[in-house]
Symmetry: C2
DNA sequence: TTCCCTGCAAAGCTTTTGCATGCGA
DNA sequence: TCGCATGCAAAAGCTTTGCAGGGAA
């Protein structure tokens, strides 16, 4: 009993949030979900589903790709991670819980991603939505170009 | 000879631009490329590669999916059409030649797309890029939400 | 005991590619 | 004639799904 309480105590805040989300939705908590969530929140900036799978695999965690995909989907539904589309057609994920919303500069040469946030732009977007009677739920802004390092090459 | 001149004459401006692009790059013009380009510029607002293929098929034009994809890729490289990614993972295309750059409001209910343009936002983006020494080449802004019609449902 | 979750493998979907053939210039 | 373009079918990526078995509450 004590050990269970301890486990909960040392669980990372973000992982606990996910656990709460899972329980709130009358779903079950599992080892796999905990391991995946830990990996997502501890080690990553931006990552693909497959990168996450490989990382878990290299740590000796035998979790199937299917479960990784299913859990990422769940994390996304809980608004704990965000899913971003790249022009290549691939998806990348990032954890968003506790982070301010931000957008991305994406280097077309090296793939580097720079995050930024700009309040003025957010306000303009809200204004545009209002004008169209559009109920804005979210947005996604990506600026493509060449980062400073790649320009020097 | 006269008929060839006539054909050129009645070719839509956008299609001719594409033809020029193709020739400029020492590639060959073909019936398929003309038919696809016509369809792209005459009939569409936003469309997927497969929708385009089906439309051509229904018109009795027997052009393979591979050629549709290859030609859309060429149109994109010529900056005559733009390729947009949706959250679903699908791509949609739109013709951009002669159109002002614009961004999109996308309804999550019905898929409706509303275009808009905002100079102020473009300026802010340039400013952000400059700040990061990032050479901006383009951007993509999508605002997700519920359109006015779907709100009433 | 009752569902939910997982792993596996198969299927799905969109897009790309290799190769033989055909067509444009 | 010479190459590029096309069609076909297969492959390639990434993601989802059906099903049987195992685990959480």
């Amino acid at each position: 009993m004590v050990s269970i309480l301890l486990m909960v105590k040392i669980m990372k805040n973000e992982v606990r949030k996910f656990q709460e989300f899972v329980r709130r939705n009358k779903l079950l908590w599992s080892n796999e979900r905990e391991i995946i969530a830990e990996q997502v929140f501890e080690n990553h900036f931006h990552f693909t589903a497959d990168e996450l799978f490989i990382q878990l695999d290299q740590k000796g965690k035998n979790i199937s790709r299917a479960t990784v995909y299913r859990t990422l989907d769940l994390l996304e539904r809980g608004k704990l991670v965000g899913k971003i589309q790249l022009q290549s057609g691939k998806h990348i994920y990032e954890h968003i819980f506790g982070h301010q919303h931000h957008d991305h500069l994406i280097c077309q040469e090296c793939g580097k991603i720079i995050e930024f946030h700009n309040d003025k732009m957010e306000k303009i977007q809200k204004k545009i939505s209002r004008k169209e009677n559009f109920e804005m739920q979210g947005h996604c802004l990506k600026i493509y170009g060449i980062c400073s390092k790649c320009q020097k090459k």
